[in-house]
Every structure is written in structure tokens, then in C-alpha cells.
Symmetry: C2
Subunit: 184 residues, 2 copies
């Protein structure tokens, strides 16, 4: 039920870069592990040489019925053999965002920022999974994990560049971009 991303000395994914996008970054580590578990111990505090970020698979927050069907038809699952590149992007949004009501957030998310409509064209090349961490006392609200093949690295850069230019992104107050390559 919970997924923990552990940055440290060893793990199934080799870290190629840890980039500060907005706010405080995370310590650069050598490797990343992705661990599924039924329970987690909170709080998860980062140290200077390692960090753990936990999230949970949760229900859809903004997606409407037609969009869910469109995404289901287009998307790829995690774990494809050719998807040897991945990215972990933890994000925290501002208090201002969370004080908005559901209709106000949905309007910014989709009507103005096209978070769903604008990203469908990156499927199935980019597989992604969103984990929620806001209610877990973690210093981020979301952990998004993306997997893609080496030739789709430029496409992934385009995707995150597009998202960072939206009105929705103005509400992001912390974002780190961790790139990894699968260990053989």
C-alpha cells in the first residue's frame, strides 16, 4: 500500500542527477531504491547522506470519467524492460493552493493548465505513477515516478518543461527532479 523511495548508497537505480527546481533540494545520493510495504514509520526525516520519501497509492482527485477512460486507453504500466530511465519528482504545493476549493483547484488544474489533456500525448512513451504524501507528514505533497526508454529522454524533458510553464505550477513551492538509470 505504501511506497518508499530511499536515496542512499545502494539500490536498484543509479542516480545520475538531483536537480533543485524550486525550493530546497534533496542531498545528492548514489542510488535509489523503491520499496513497497504495508506500513511505514513516521516521520521520515532526511539526513545529509540519505533520505526516505513515502507515498501512498490513492484515489483520483481531479480526473473525470471521460478523462479516466482516455488515460486508461493510452497509458503504459511501470516495469517495461525497455524503460531503463526513470525520474522521481517530489513536489509540494503552497498553502494557498490547498486553501482553494475543489472547483477552484480543478479549474486551474485542467481548464487553465490542461494537466490531463496536455499530457496525454506523452503516453504511452512515458509511464507514470502518482503517490500521495501530503497526509503522511512527509515534506512533499506528491511523489511522481516516471519510466521511459533512453530515446524518450528528450520527450520527458519536454513534458516536465510544459508542466512547469502552466498556471498550476505557480502554486508549486518545492520541486526536486531526481533522474536515475536502472542498474543491470
Amino acid at each position: 500500500m505504501f511506497t518508499t523511495f530511499r536515496g542512499g548508497q545502494s539500490g536498484g537505480w543509479k542516480v545520475t542527477s538531483v536537480a533543485r527546481i524550486k525550493g530546497e533540494t534533496l542531498p545528492k545520493v548514489a542510488a535509489l531504491s523503491v520499496i513497497a510495504s504495508e506500513a511505514i514509520a513516521l516521520p521520515l526525516l532526511p539526513s545529509q547522506t540519505s533520505w526516505r520519501l513515502a507515498g501512498v497509492l490513492s484515489h483520483l482527485r481531479y480526473t473525470e470519467t471521460a478523462e479516466k477512460e482516455q488515460l486508461a486507453a493510452a497509458q503504459a504500466g511501470l516495469g517495461r524492460p525497455e524503460a531503463t530511465h526513470a525520474a522521481l519528482i517530489p513536489i509540494r504545493k503552497s498553502a494557498e493552493w490547498w486553501e482553494l476549493t475543489q472547483d477552484e483547484r480543478r479549474k486551474i488544474f485542467e481548464d487553465k493548465s490542461q494537466h490531463i489533456a496536455g499530457t496525454v500525448k506523452y503516453l504511452p512513451a512515458i509511464a507514470r505513477q502518482l503517490y500521495h504524501s501530503r497526509d503522511l507528514g512527509v515534506p512533499f505533497d506528491f511523489l511522481t515516478w516516471f519510466e521511459f526508454s533512453p530515446e524518450h529522454v528528450p520527450l520527458f524533458d519536454e513534458l516536465v518543461g510544459m508542466l512547469r510553464a502552466t498556471e498550476e505550477w505557480a502554486y508549486v513551492e518545492r520541486e526536486v527532479d531526481v533522474r536515475v538509470i536502472r542498474e543491470d
Copy 2:
């Protein structure tokens, strides 16, 4: 940030009843404590003689702007001296509910069940606070805490009776109704 409801031998609230409404009940305990904390240890497992349920104050999930303003104008806060009666109602909804999309859930929540419009008339007599626990690995999705004065007990019974007759309530698979009175 987190609030833990601990049922056990002692606490600030005397338990007058623990009623099974749907699904498995909770063990009957003598007293209830309400504890705020910055961190919780998970999982929180019930024993035969005590239980702990943790939730988190989170953002609004369905409320729209006009509704938020209407509620803000009508509602009372917790801790009123005259509100010596209270109820803790933990609820879990079905997997079917959580697989619905946001628009489908909102339609059942408000258009069909009038969860907001139908409950405004119980304000400010009944003060309430919703805590989210679904993402915490707790066996309930929500913990709702209600406070009211002794003369409003029948009004509170009417409120929960009304909610249990809605279409939304068909998606509830577990509900326990814990009534308490403040210790002098």
C-alpha cells in the same frame, strides 16, 4: 497536524455507547482521549481493550466556493463550554466508491445526497471536524468528531439518520458510532 482518538480506560471523555452501524464494530471502552501530535507511528492496531484511530486535518475534497462561504458563515468551532456531548463516527467507504472519478463522487455526494446543503441546517448547533485517515493505513477512511449541548442530542440523531438514508451512504461499508460525555 495529526489527531489520535484513543479509546481506553481513562480520558477526557466518558464513553456512553459504542454502536455498530455497519460492518465490524470497535471494542467498548470506558473513556476516549483526543490527542494532537506532529507525528504518528503506523500501523495503529486495535486490541481487545483499547484502540487508537489517527486522522489528519486535510484540504476540502468536494466543497465548492459558494458552499465553503455558506459553511464558514454558519458553523461553530469545537470546544464550546456548553457542548458537553460529543460523537466520534469513523467511516470506511467501499472500493467501488474510491474507484469512482471525482465528478461521479461529487454527483453522489451533493447532487443526489445533499451532503452539504442538507446538513447546513444543523449548524451551528452541531459543531463538527472531519479528519482524513484513508491514506494513513488506518481501517477507516474518515473520522468525524461532533460536539453539541445535551438539548441537541435529538437533533444530532436526526442528522446522522438523514445522512444514513442518502445514496452516498450506500457506499459506506463500515461505520461505528461512539457517543461520549465530557468528564467534569
